[in-house]
Protein backbone atom coordinates (compact mmCIF):
# COMPACT_ATOMS: atom_id res chain seq x y z
CA UNK A 1 0.00 0.00 0.00
CA UNK A 2 2.86 2.36 0.89
CA UNK A 3 4.46 1.47 -2.40
CA UNK A 4 1.32 2.30 -4.37
CA UNK A 5 1.07 5.64 -2.56
CA UNK A 6 4.70 6.30 -3.40
CA UNK A 7 4.19 5.41 -7.07
CA UNK A 8 1.15 7.68 -7.31
CA UNK A 9 3.11 10.47 -5.63
CA UNK A 10 5.85 9.98 -8.21
CA UNK A 11 3.33 10.54 -10.97
CA UNK A 12 1.68 13.47 -9.23
CA UNK A 13 4.93 15.32 -8.58
CA UNK A 14 5.94 15.52 -12.23
CA UNK A 15 4.41 17.19 -15.25
CA UNK A 16 3.85 14.07 -17.29
CA UNK A 17 0.28 13.28 -16.29
CA UNK A 18 -1.27 16.68 -17.02
CA UNK A 19 0.70 17.13 -20.23
CA UNK A 20 -0.71 13.80 -21.38
CA UNK A 21 -4.17 14.86 -20.24
CA UNK A 22 -3.83 18.05 -22.29
CA UNK A 23 -2.84 16.01 -25.34
CA UNK A 24 -5.77 13.65 -24.83
CA UNK A 25 -8.42 16.36 -24.82
CA UNK A 26 -8.15 17.61 -28.44
CA UNK A 27 -7.73 14.02 -29.65
CA UNK A 28 -10.95 13.14 -27.86
CA UNK A 29 -12.73 16.09 -29.47
CA UNK A 30 -11.49 14.94 -32.88
CA UNK A 31 -12.81 11.40 -32.36
CA UNK A 32 -16.12 12.80 -31.15
CA UNK A 33 -16.44 14.73 -34.40
CA UNK A 34 -15.68 11.62 -36.45
CA UNK A 35 -18.13 9.51 -34.45
CA UNK A 36 -20.79 12.18 -34.87
CA UNK A 37 -20.35 12.28 -38.63
CA UNK A 38 -20.40 8.48 -38.73
CA UNK A 39 -23.55 8.27 -36.62
CA UNK A 40 -25.15 10.88 -38.82
CA UNK A 41 -24.27 8.94 -41.97
CA UNK A 42 -25.43 5.62 -40.55
CA UNK A 43 -28.84 6.99 -39.58
CA UNK A 44 -29.54 9.00 -42.75
CA UNK A 45 -30.22 5.83 -44.79
CA UNK A 46 -28.88 6.94 -48.17
CA UNK A 47 -26.19 4.35 -48.66
CA UNK A 48 -27.10 3.50 -52.23
CA UNK A 49 -27.01 -0.08 -53.51
CA UNK A 50 -25.64 -2.62 -51.05
CA UNK A 51 -25.11 -6.34 -51.12
CA UNK A 52 -27.13 -8.34 -48.63
CA UNK A 53 -24.09 -8.90 -46.43
CA UNK A 54 -23.14 -5.23 -46.38
CA UNK A 55 -26.72 -4.29 -45.62
CA UNK A 56 -26.71 -6.60 -42.63
CA UNK A 57 -23.46 -5.06 -41.39
CA UNK A 58 -24.89 -1.58 -41.74
CA UNK A 59 -28.05 -2.50 -39.97
CA UNK A 60 -26.06 -3.85 -37.05
CA UNK A 61 -23.81 -0.78 -36.94
CA UNK A 62 -26.80 1.60 -37.14
CA UNK A 63 -28.69 -0.07 -34.29
CA UNK A 64 -29.07 2.09 -31.17
CA UNK A 65 -26.92 -0.43 -29.30
CA UNK A 66 -24.01 -0.04 -31.66
CA UNK A 67 -24.39 3.71 -32.09
CA UNK A 68 -24.51 4.45 -28.39
CA UNK A 69 -21.70 2.00 -27.60
CA UNK A 70 -19.54 3.73 -30.14
CA UNK A 71 -20.33 7.23 -28.93
CA UNK A 72 -20.02 6.47 -25.23
CA UNK A 73 -16.54 5.04 -25.80
CA UNK A 74 -15.41 8.00 -27.87
CA UNK A 75 -11.71 8.75 -27.53
CA UNK A 76 -10.83 5.14 -26.95
CA UNK A 77 -8.40 4.89 -29.83
CA UNK A 78 -6.14 7.69 -28.61
CA UNK A 79 -7.03 7.25 -24.95
CA UNK A 80 -5.63 3.73 -24.92
CA UNK A 81 -2.48 4.95 -26.65
CA UNK A 82 -1.99 7.65 -24.01
CA UNK A 83 -2.63 5.26 -21.14
CA UNK A 84 -0.16 2.79 -22.61
CA UNK A 85 2.47 5.55 -22.90
CA UNK A 86 1.89 6.53 -19.27
CA UNK A 87 2.38 2.89 -18.28
CA UNK A 88 5.64 2.85 -20.22
CA UNK A 89 6.86 6.03 -18.56
CA UNK A 90 6.04 4.76 -15.06
CA UNK A 91 8.87 2.27 -15.62
CA UNK A 92 11.27 3.90 -18.08
CA UNK A 93 11.49 7.23 -16.25
CA UNK A 94 13.09 5.32 -13.37
CA UNK A 95 15.91 4.32 -15.69
CA UNK A 96 15.97 7.61 -17.58
CA UNK A 97 16.40 9.62 -14.39
CA UNK A 98 18.40 6.89 -12.60
CA UNK A 99 15.93 6.77 -9.74
CA UNK A 100 15.57 3.01 -9.96
CA UNK A 101 18.50 2.57 -7.57
CA UNK A 102 16.75 4.64 -4.91
CA UNK A 103 13.48 2.82 -5.56
CA UNK A 104 15.00 -0.61 -5.06
CA UNK A 105 17.06 0.52 -2.06
CA UNK A 106 13.88 1.77 -0.44
CA UNK A 107 12.06 -1.48 -1.16
CA UNK A 108 14.35 -4.38 -2.10
CA UNK A 109 11.32 -6.58 -2.83
CA UNK A 110 11.12 -5.94 -6.51
CA UNK A 111 7.97 -7.91 -7.15
CA UNK A 112 6.13 -5.66 -4.71
CA UNK A 113 7.51 -2.60 -6.50
CA UNK A 114 6.37 -3.92 -9.86
CA UNK A 115 2.91 -4.74 -8.54
CA UNK A 116 2.71 -1.21 -7.13
CA UNK A 117 3.67 0.19 -10.53
CA UNK A 118 1.01 -1.91 -12.24
CA UNK A 119 -1.59 -0.75 -9.74
CA UNK A 120 -0.53 2.89 -10.05
CA UNK A 121 -0.70 2.72 -13.85
CA UNK A 122 -4.13 1.11 -13.45
CA UNK A 123 -5.32 3.93 -11.18
CA UNK A 124 -4.12 6.44 -13.74
CA UNK A 125 -5.96 4.56 -16.48
CA UNK A 126 -9.09 4.50 -14.32
CA UNK A 127 -8.95 8.28 -13.92
CA UNK A 128 -8.49 8.83 -17.66
CA UNK A 129 -11.43 6.51 -18.32
CA UNK A 130 -13.56 8.24 -15.69
CA UNK A 131 -13.06 11.72 -17.12
CA UNK A 132 -13.47 10.57 -20.74
CA UNK A 133 -16.63 8.62 -19.90
CA UNK A 134 -18.15 11.60 -18.09
CA UNK A 135 -17.51 13.75 -21.15
CA UNK A 136 -18.86 11.00 -23.42
CA UNK A 137 -22.10 10.62 -21.52
CA UNK A 138 -22.82 14.31 -22.00
CA UNK A 139 -21.56 14.75 -25.55
CA UNK A 140 -22.70 11.29 -26.72
CA UNK A 141 -26.27 11.81 -25.54
CA UNK A 142 -26.36 15.12 -27.37
CA UNK A 143 -25.19 13.51 -30.61
CA UNK A 144 -27.67 10.64 -30.27
CA UNK A 145 -30.49 13.12 -29.80
CA UNK A 146 -29.29 15.08 -32.80
CA UNK A 147 -29.37 12.03 -35.10
CA UNK A 148 -32.84 11.12 -33.91
CA UNK A 149 -32.03 8.26 -31.53
CA UNK A 150 -32.82 8.61 -27.82
CA UNK A 151 -29.90 9.32 -25.50
CA UNK A 152 -29.67 5.56 -24.66
CA UNK A 153 -28.52 6.19 -21.07
CA UNK A 154 -30.60 3.19 -20.04
CA UNK A 155 -29.24 0.92 -22.77
CA UNK A 156 -27.60 -2.20 -21.33
CA UNK A 157 -25.42 -2.73 -24.37
CA UNK A 158 -24.08 0.82 -24.06
CA UNK A 159 -23.16 0.35 -20.41
CA UNK A 160 -21.56 -2.97 -21.20
CA UNK A 161 -19.42 -1.19 -23.78
CA UNK A 162 -18.50 1.48 -21.23
CA UNK A 163 -17.49 -1.22 -18.76
CA UNK A 164 -15.46 -3.07 -21.36
CA UNK A 165 -13.87 0.25 -22.29
CA UNK A 166 -12.62 0.51 -18.69
CA UNK A 167 -11.22 -2.98 -18.98
CA UNK A 168 -9.42 -1.93 -22.15
CA UNK A 169 -7.93 1.13 -20.42
CA UNK A 170 -6.67 -1.00 -17.53
CA UNK A 171 -5.23 -3.66 -19.79
CA UNK A 172 -3.38 -1.16 -21.96
CA UNK A 173 -1.88 0.46 -18.88
CA UNK A 174 -0.59 -2.96 -17.78
CA UNK A 175 0.60 -3.58 -21.31
CA UNK A 176 2.53 -0.28 -21.21
CA UNK A 177 4.27 -1.20 -17.94
CA UNK A 178 5.31 -4.50 -19.52
CA UNK A 179 6.76 -2.76 -22.58
CA UNK A 180 8.59 -0.34 -20.29
CA UNK A 181 10.33 -3.19 -18.50
CA UNK A 182 11.22 -4.99 -21.71
CA UNK A 183 12.62 -1.83 -23.32
CA UNK A 184 14.22 0.32 -20.65
CA UNK A 185 15.14 3.19 -22.96
CA UNK A 186 12.45 5.85 -22.60
CA UNK A 187 12.57 6.85 -26.25
CA UNK A 188 12.92 3.29 -27.48
CA UNK A 189 9.94 2.07 -25.47
CA UNK A 190 7.75 5.03 -26.41
CA UNK A 191 8.48 4.72 -30.11
CA UNK A 192 7.99 0.96 -30.04
CA UNK A 193 4.71 1.39 -28.17
CA UNK A 194 3.38 3.94 -30.65
CA UNK A 195 4.48 1.88 -33.65
CA UNK A 196 2.95 -1.23 -32.18
CA UNK A 197 -0.28 0.61 -31.55
CA UNK A 198 -0.71 2.77 -34.66
CA UNK A 199 1.47 1.13 -37.27
CA UNK A 200 0.66 -2.29 -35.91
CA UNK A 201 -3.06 -1.94 -36.33
CA UNK A 202 -2.96 -0.23 -39.72
CA UNK A 203 -0.31 -2.61 -41.05
CA UNK A 204 -2.15 -5.60 -39.65
CA UNK A 205 -5.39 -4.57 -41.35
CA UNK A 206 -3.53 -4.39 -44.66
CA UNK A 207 -1.71 -7.65 -44.24
CA UNK A 208 -4.79 -9.46 -43.03
CA UNK A 209 -6.88 -8.11 -45.89
CA UNK A 210 -4.30 -9.31 -48.43
CA UNK A 211 -3.96 -12.71 -46.76
CA UNK A 212 -7.74 -13.07 -46.56
CA UNK A 213 -7.98 -12.41 -50.31
CA UNK A 214 -5.49 -15.13 -50.96
CA UNK A 215 -6.51 -17.84 -48.48
CA UNK A 216 -10.06 -17.10 -47.53
CA UNK A 217 -12.15 -15.20 -45.03
CA UNK A 218 -11.12 -17.17 -41.94
CA UNK A 219 -7.87 -15.16 -41.95
CA UNK A 220 -9.99 -12.15 -40.94
CA UNK A 221 -10.31 -13.70 -37.52
CA UNK A 222 -6.55 -13.27 -37.06
CA UNK A 223 -7.07 -9.54 -36.55
CA UNK A 224 -8.01 -10.64 -33.10
CA UNK A 225 -4.33 -11.19 -32.37
CA UNK A 226 -3.46 -7.54 -32.96
CA UNK A 227 -3.89 -5.94 -29.54
CA UNK A 228 -5.35 -2.64 -30.70
CA UNK A 229 -7.83 -4.36 -33.01
CA UNK A 230 -8.76 -6.79 -30.28
CA UNK A 231 -9.58 -3.93 -27.91
CA UNK A 232 -11.70 -2.05 -30.44
CA UNK A 233 -13.52 -5.29 -31.21
CA UNK A 234 -14.11 -5.76 -27.52
CA UNK A 235 -16.04 -2.51 -27.14
CA UNK A 236 -18.25 -2.64 -30.23
CA UNK A 237 -21.77 -2.55 -28.86
CA UNK A 238 -23.12 -5.42 -30.92
CA UNK A 239 -21.67 -8.45 -32.63
CA UNK A 240 -21.12 -7.31 -36.21
CA UNK A 241 -21.66 -10.16 -38.68
CA UNK A 242 -18.38 -11.39 -40.12
CA UNK A 243 -16.32 -10.22 -37.13
CA UNK A 244 -15.05 -12.49 -34.35
CA UNK A 245 -17.09 -12.43 -31.11
CA UNK A 246 -16.31 -9.69 -28.59
CA UNK A 247 -15.38 -11.93 -25.70
CA UNK A 248 -12.54 -13.27 -27.84
CA UNK A 249 -11.13 -9.75 -28.13
CA UNK A 250 -11.27 -9.40 -24.34
CA UNK A 251 -9.58 -12.77 -23.85
CA UNK A 252 -6.75 -11.86 -26.22
CA UNK A 253 -6.15 -8.51 -24.50
CA UNK A 254 -6.15 -10.03 -21.04
CA UNK A 255 -3.71 -12.63 -22.32
CA UNK A 256 -1.33 -9.95 -23.61
CA UNK A 257 -1.58 -7.93 -20.39
CA UNK A 258 -0.91 -10.95 -18.18
CA UNK A 259 2.04 -12.07 -20.29
CA UNK A 260 3.72 -8.64 -20.43
CA UNK A 261 2.98 -7.96 -16.76
CA UNK A 262 4.36 -11.30 -15.55
CA UNK A 263 7.35 -11.39 -17.90
CA UNK A 264 8.16 -7.79 -16.98
CA UNK A 265 8.04 -8.54 -13.27
CA UNK A 266 10.18 -11.66 -13.61
CA UNK A 267 12.76 -9.75 -15.66
CA UNK A 268 12.89 -6.95 -13.13
CA UNK A 269 13.44 -9.42 -10.29
CA UNK A 270 16.56 -10.85 -11.89
CA UNK A 271 18.10 -7.78 -13.42
CA UNK A 272 21.32 -6.19 -12.13
CA UNK A 273 20.84 -2.50 -11.45
CA UNK A 274 24.01 -0.59 -12.20
Amino acid sequence: MNLVRSELLKIRTTNTWWIFALITLPLWALTLLINWLQADALTSNNMGELSAEQAAQFEAAASPDALSSNLFTTGQFFGLLIVMLLGIIVVTSEFFHQTVTTTFLTSPHRTAVMVAKLVAAGVLALLFWLVTTALNLVAGSAVLNAVGVDSQLGNDAAWRAIGLNLLAYLLWAVFGVGIGVLIRSQIGATVTGILLYLGGSIGAIFVIAILADRWGDWINNLQLLVPSLASSLMVTGADIPGNPPRWAGAAVLIGYAVVTGVVGTLLMRRRDIS
Binding site: N2, L3, R5, S6, L9, K10, T13, T14, N15, S93, H97, Q98, T99, T101, T102, T103, F104, L105, T106, S107, P108, H109, R270, D272, I273, S274
Partner: protein, 311 residues
Amino acid sequence: MTDGQRSPTSDGQIVVSGLTKQYKNVRAVNDLSFTVEPGRVTGFLGPNGAGKTTTLRMLLNLVTPTAGTATISGHRYADLADPLRHVGAILEASSAHKGRTGINHLRVICAAAGLPRERADAALELVGLTPAAKRKFKGYSLGMKQRLGIAAAMLGDPRVLILDEPANGLDPEGIRWMRGFLKNLAHEGRTVLVSSHLLSEMQLLADDVVIIAAGQLVRQGPVEQVLGSMAQGARVRVRTPQAEALTTALKAQSATVDTDEHGVLLVSGVDAPAIGRAALAAGVELHELTTERPDLERVFLELTAGKAGIR
Protein backbone atom coordinates in the same frame (compact mmCIF):
# COMPACT_ATOMS: atom_id res chain seq x y z
CA MET B 1 31.21 -13.39 34.62
CA THR B 2 28.04 -15.49 34.55
CA ASP B 3 26.05 -13.10 32.41
CA GLY B 4 29.01 -11.81 30.47
CA GLN B 5 28.77 -14.48 27.86
CA ARG B 6 26.54 -12.61 25.45
CA SER B 7 27.66 -13.15 21.90
CA PRO B 8 29.37 -10.14 20.38
CA THR B 9 26.72 -8.07 18.69
CA SER B 10 26.93 -7.82 14.93
CA ASP B 11 24.80 -4.70 14.97
CA GLY B 12 25.93 -2.31 12.31
CA GLN B 13 28.76 -4.55 11.19
CA ILE B 14 29.22 -5.14 7.47
CA VAL B 15 30.66 -8.52 6.53
CA VAL B 16 31.70 -9.29 2.98
CA SER B 17 32.69 -12.90 2.47
CA GLY B 18 34.02 -14.56 -0.66
CA LEU B 19 32.11 -12.08 -2.80
CA THR B 20 32.52 -12.67 -6.53
CA LYS B 21 30.91 -11.13 -9.60
CA GLN B 22 31.59 -12.53 -13.01
CA TYR B 23 30.40 -10.48 -15.96
CA LYS B 24 30.59 -11.86 -19.46
CA ASN B 25 34.27 -11.16 -19.99
CA VAL B 26 35.41 -9.65 -16.74
CA ARG B 27 35.60 -10.92 -13.19
CA ALA B 28 34.73 -7.55 -11.65
CA VAL B 29 35.03 -8.78 -8.07
CA ASN B 30 37.02 -11.86 -7.16
CA ASP B 31 36.62 -13.71 -3.84
CA LEU B 32 36.56 -10.50 -1.84
CA SER B 33 36.29 -10.63 1.96
CA PHE B 34 36.48 -7.83 4.50
CA THR B 35 34.60 -6.44 7.49
CA VAL B 36 33.55 -2.94 8.38
CA GLU B 37 33.09 -2.00 12.04
CA PRO B 38 30.56 0.39 13.55
CA GLY B 39 31.73 3.62 15.15
CA ARG B 40 34.43 4.18 12.56
CA VAL B 41 34.77 5.70 9.13
CA THR B 42 36.04 3.09 6.72
CA GLY B 43 37.53 4.19 3.42
CA PHE B 44 36.96 1.82 0.53
CA LEU B 45 39.78 2.50 -1.91
CA GLY B 46 40.84 1.22 -5.27
CA PRO B 47 41.79 2.42 -8.73
CA ASN B 48 39.04 3.09 -11.25
CA GLY B 49 37.52 -0.19 -12.34
CA ALA B 50 38.75 -2.07 -9.28
CA GLY B 51 35.22 -3.24 -8.47
CA LYS B 52 34.29 -0.79 -5.70
CA THR B 53 30.91 0.16 -7.09
CA THR B 54 30.04 -3.43 -8.03
CA THR B 55 30.89 -4.51 -4.48
CA LEU B 56 28.71 -1.82 -2.93
CA ARG B 57 25.86 -2.69 -5.29
CA MET B 58 26.09 -6.36 -4.37
CA LEU B 59 26.05 -5.35 -0.70
CA LEU B 60 22.80 -3.46 -1.39
CA ASN B 61 21.06 -6.20 -3.35
CA LEU B 62 21.14 -4.22 -6.59
CA VAL B 63 23.52 -6.63 -8.30
CA THR B 64 23.34 -10.38 -7.76
CA PRO B 65 26.68 -11.91 -6.72
CA THR B 66 28.02 -14.85 -8.71
CA ALA B 67 29.28 -16.28 -5.43
CA GLY B 68 29.76 -15.27 -1.81
CA THR B 69 27.70 -13.20 0.60
CA ALA B 70 27.50 -9.66 1.88
CA THR B 71 25.60 -8.92 5.08
CA ILE B 72 24.74 -5.88 7.15
CA SER B 73 24.15 -6.56 10.86
CA GLY B 74 24.06 -10.24 9.98
CA HIS B 75 21.36 -9.96 7.29
CA ARG B 76 21.35 -9.71 3.57
CA TYR B 77 20.07 -6.28 2.53
CA ALA B 78 16.93 -7.79 1.00
CA ASP B 79 16.16 -9.53 4.31
CA LEU B 80 16.35 -6.40 6.47
CA ALA B 81 12.90 -5.76 7.92
CA ASP B 82 13.08 -2.02 7.43
CA PRO B 83 16.00 -1.34 5.10
CA LEU B 84 15.80 2.46 5.09
CA ARG B 85 15.75 2.67 8.88
CA HIS B 86 18.83 0.49 8.99
CA VAL B 87 20.94 1.48 6.01
CA GLY B 88 21.34 4.77 4.18
CA ALA B 89 23.12 4.69 0.84
CA ILE B 90 24.21 7.20 -1.77
CA LEU B 91 25.27 5.60 -4.98
CA GLU B 92 25.24 8.19 -7.70
CA ALA B 93 25.06 11.94 -7.84
CA SER B 94 22.13 12.45 -10.15
CA SER B 95 19.57 10.02 -8.88
CA ALA B 96 16.40 12.09 -8.85
CA HIS B 97 13.78 12.93 -11.47
CA LYS B 98 14.86 16.18 -13.10
CA GLY B 99 11.37 17.62 -13.07
CA ARG B 100 10.66 16.84 -9.43
CA THR B 101 11.41 19.22 -6.56
CA GLY B 102 13.93 18.24 -3.89
CA ILE B 103 11.31 17.99 -1.16
CA ASN B 104 9.01 15.86 -3.32
CA HIS B 105 11.90 13.54 -4.15
CA LEU B 106 12.29 12.87 -0.44
CA ARG B 107 8.54 12.57 0.12
CA VAL B 108 8.30 9.87 -2.54
CA ILE B 109 10.93 7.87 -0.64
CA CYS B 110 9.18 8.49 2.70
CA ALA B 111 5.91 7.22 1.26
CA ALA B 112 7.53 4.03 -0.05
CA ALA B 113 9.37 3.37 3.22
CA GLY B 114 6.39 4.16 5.42
CA LEU B 115 8.20 7.07 7.07
CA PRO B 116 6.24 10.16 8.16
CA ARG B 117 6.51 12.89 5.52
CA GLU B 118 7.91 15.33 8.10
CA ARG B 119 11.14 13.33 7.92
CA ALA B 120 11.65 14.85 4.48
CA ASP B 121 11.69 18.38 5.87
CA ALA B 122 13.99 17.37 8.73
CA ALA B 123 16.45 15.67 6.37
CA LEU B 124 16.60 18.72 4.08
CA GLU B 125 17.26 20.88 7.12
CA LEU B 126 20.04 18.52 8.21
CA VAL B 127 21.97 19.02 4.96
CA GLY B 128 21.20 22.73 4.73
CA LEU B 129 19.05 22.46 1.63
CA THR B 130 15.81 23.91 3.02
CA PRO B 131 15.99 27.12 0.92
CA ALA B 132 16.05 25.00 -2.27
CA ALA B 133 13.32 22.60 -1.14
CA LYS B 134 10.82 23.65 -3.78
CA ARG B 135 13.27 24.03 -6.63
CA LYS B 136 13.33 21.34 -9.28
CA PHE B 137 16.23 18.89 -9.30
CA LYS B 138 17.46 20.02 -12.72
CA GLY B 139 18.21 23.43 -11.20
CA TYR B 140 20.46 21.99 -8.52
CA SER B 141 24.24 22.36 -8.60
CA LEU B 142 26.36 19.22 -8.29
CA GLY B 143 27.00 20.01 -4.64
CA MET B 144 23.28 20.45 -3.96
CA LYS B 145 22.57 17.14 -5.67
CA GLN B 146 25.07 15.42 -3.39
CA ARG B 147 23.48 17.02 -0.36
CA LEU B 148 20.05 15.87 -1.50
CA GLY B 149 21.48 12.37 -1.85
CA ILE B 150 22.74 12.55 1.74
CA ALA B 151 19.36 13.83 2.88
CA ALA B 152 17.72 10.84 1.19
CA ALA B 153 20.16 8.48 2.90
CA MET B 154 19.46 10.06 6.31
CA LEU B 155 15.64 9.88 6.04
CA GLY B 156 15.38 6.73 8.12
CA ASP B 157 18.03 7.80 10.65
CA PRO B 158 20.04 4.71 9.68
CA ARG B 159 22.67 2.91 11.72
CA VAL B 160 24.80 2.17 8.66
CA LEU B 161 25.83 4.60 5.93
CA ILE B 162 27.24 3.54 2.59
CA LEU B 163 28.50 6.24 0.24
CA ASP B 164 29.99 5.85 -3.23
CA GLU B 165 32.33 8.72 -4.07
CA PRO B 166 30.43 11.30 -2.02
CA ALA B 167 33.08 13.98 -2.49
CA ASN B 168 32.65 14.05 -6.27
CA GLY B 169 31.59 17.48 -7.42
CA LEU B 170 31.88 19.10 -4.01
CA ASP B 171 33.83 22.33 -3.62
CA PRO B 172 36.45 22.59 -0.83
CA GLU B 173 33.87 24.00 1.56
CA GLY B 174 31.49 21.15 0.70
CA ILE B 175 34.22 18.57 1.19
CA ARG B 176 35.06 19.99 4.60
CA TRP B 177 31.38 19.90 5.52
CA MET B 178 31.10 16.29 4.36
CA ARG B 179 34.17 15.30 6.37
CA GLY B 180 32.77 16.78 9.57
CA PHE B 181 29.36 15.28 8.88
CA LEU B 182 30.64 11.73 8.34
CA LYS B 183 33.06 11.85 11.27
CA ASN B 184 30.24 12.99 13.47
CA LEU B 185 28.04 10.10 12.33
CA ALA B 186 30.78 7.59 13.10
CA HIS B 187 31.31 9.27 16.47
CA GLU B 188 27.64 8.61 17.23
CA GLY B 189 28.42 4.91 16.83
CA ARG B 190 27.19 4.46 13.26
CA THR B 191 28.97 2.48 10.59
CA VAL B 192 30.28 4.65 7.76
CA LEU B 193 31.64 3.03 4.61
CA VAL B 194 32.92 5.51 2.01
CA SER B 195 34.38 4.63 -1.34
CA SER B 196 36.70 7.18 -2.87
CA HIS B 197 39.71 7.69 -5.05
CA LEU B 198 40.62 10.97 -3.33
CA LEU B 199 43.42 9.60 -1.16
CA SER B 200 44.47 12.76 0.62
CA GLU B 201 40.85 13.31 1.61
CA MET B 202 40.61 9.73 2.83
CA GLN B 203 43.69 10.15 4.97
CA LEU B 204 41.93 13.02 6.74
CA LEU B 205 38.63 11.20 7.03
CA ALA B 206 39.05 7.47 7.44
CA ASP B 207 39.86 5.47 10.56
CA ASP B 208 40.14 2.19 8.65
CA VAL B 209 40.80 1.45 5.00
CA VAL B 210 39.95 -1.43 2.72
CA ILE B 211 42.09 -1.32 -0.42
CA ILE B 212 41.14 -3.39 -3.45
CA ALA B 213 42.61 -3.68 -6.93
CA ALA B 214 41.48 -5.76 -9.88
CA GLY B 215 38.55 -7.01 -7.82
CA GLN B 216 40.70 -8.45 -5.05
CA LEU B 217 41.56 -7.36 -1.54
CA VAL B 218 44.99 -5.78 -1.27
CA ARG B 219 45.05 -4.57 2.32
CA GLN B 220 42.65 -3.94 5.16
CA GLY B 221 43.14 -2.32 8.55
CA PRO B 222 43.41 0.92 10.50
CA VAL B 223 45.00 3.69 8.44
CA GLU B 224 48.04 4.00 10.73
CA GLN B 225 48.70 0.29 10.59
CA VAL B 226 48.42 0.15 6.80
CA LEU B 227 50.78 3.12 6.51
CA GLY B 228 53.22 1.62 9.00
CA SER B 229 53.25 -1.75 7.32
CA MET B 230 54.50 -0.26 4.11
CA ALA B 231 57.41 2.09 4.27
CA GLN B 232 60.16 1.22 6.73
CA GLY B 233 59.28 4.29 8.73
CA ALA B 234 60.05 7.81 7.66
CA ARG B 235 62.36 8.80 4.83
CA VAL B 236 64.39 12.01 4.78
CA ARG B 237 65.04 14.16 1.72
CA VAL B 238 68.46 15.82 1.79
CA ARG B 239 69.84 18.31 -0.72
CA THR B 240 73.51 19.13 -0.55
CA PRO B 241 76.27 20.22 -2.96
CA GLN B 242 78.58 17.64 -1.32
CA ALA B 243 76.48 14.52 -1.83
CA GLU B 244 79.37 12.06 -1.88
CA ALA B 245 80.89 13.20 1.37
CA LEU B 246 77.56 13.08 3.15
CA THR B 247 76.69 9.67 1.71
CA THR B 248 79.94 8.27 3.05
CA ALA B 249 79.31 9.80 6.47
CA LEU B 250 75.74 8.45 6.62
CA LYS B 251 76.66 4.98 5.45
CA ALA B 252 79.14 4.86 8.31
CA GLN B 253 76.05 5.14 10.55
CA SER B 254 74.45 2.24 8.65
CA ALA B 255 71.84 4.39 6.96
CA THR B 256 70.43 3.54 3.52
CA VAL B 257 70.99 6.28 0.96
CA ASP B 258 69.37 6.52 -2.46
CA THR B 259 69.69 9.29 -4.99
CA ASP B 260 66.79 10.50 -7.10
CA GLU B 261 67.01 11.90 -10.65
CA HIS B 262 67.60 15.44 -9.36
CA GLY B 263 70.50 14.42 -7.17
CA VAL B 264 68.44 14.62 -3.99
CA LEU B 265 69.45 12.07 -1.38
CA LEU B 266 66.67 9.89 0.05
CA VAL B 267 67.87 8.65 3.41
CA SER B 268 66.24 6.05 5.57
CA GLY B 269 67.37 4.30 8.73
CA VAL B 270 68.37 7.50 10.55
CA ASP B 271 66.28 10.51 11.49
CA ALA B 272 66.72 14.13 10.49
CA PRO B 273 68.59 15.32 13.63
CA ALA B 274 71.11 12.49 13.18
CA ILE B 275 71.66 13.50 9.57
CA GLY B 276 72.12 17.13 10.62
CA ARG B 277 74.73 16.17 13.21
CA ALA B 278 76.57 13.95 10.74
CA ALA B 279 76.65 16.78 8.20
CA LEU B 280 77.97 19.22 10.79
CA ALA B 281 80.68 16.80 11.88
CA ALA B 282 81.72 16.19 8.28
CA GLY B 283 81.59 19.89 7.44
CA VAL B 284 78.95 19.33 4.74
CA GLU B 285 76.66 22.17 3.66
CA LEU B 286 72.89 21.34 3.69
CA HIS B 287 70.25 23.03 1.50
CA GLU B 288 67.26 20.95 2.48
CA LEU B 289 66.42 18.48 5.21
CA THR B 290 62.83 17.24 5.05
CA THR B 291 61.20 14.28 6.76
CA GLU B 292 58.73 12.58 4.40
CA ARG B 293 55.87 10.93 6.18
CA PRO B 294 54.50 7.91 4.37
CA ASP B 295 51.11 9.00 3.07
CA LEU B 296 48.15 7.05 1.88
CA GLU B 297 48.72 8.04 -1.69
CA ARG B 298 52.21 6.59 -1.82
CA VAL B 299 51.18 3.44 -0.03
CA PHE B 300 48.18 3.08 -2.27
CA LEU B 301 50.25 3.46 -5.42
CA GLU B 302 52.79 0.93 -4.18
CA LEU B 303 50.09 -1.55 -3.20
CA THR B 304 48.09 -1.29 -6.38
CA ALA B 305 51.00 -0.90 -8.78
CA GLY B 306 50.47 -2.93 -11.92
CA LYS B 307 46.92 -3.85 -10.93
CA ALA B 308 45.20 -0.68 -12.05
CA GLY B 309 43.98 0.21 -15.46
CA ILE B 310 41.73 -1.38 -18.00
CA ARG B 311 40.94 -5.02 -17.55
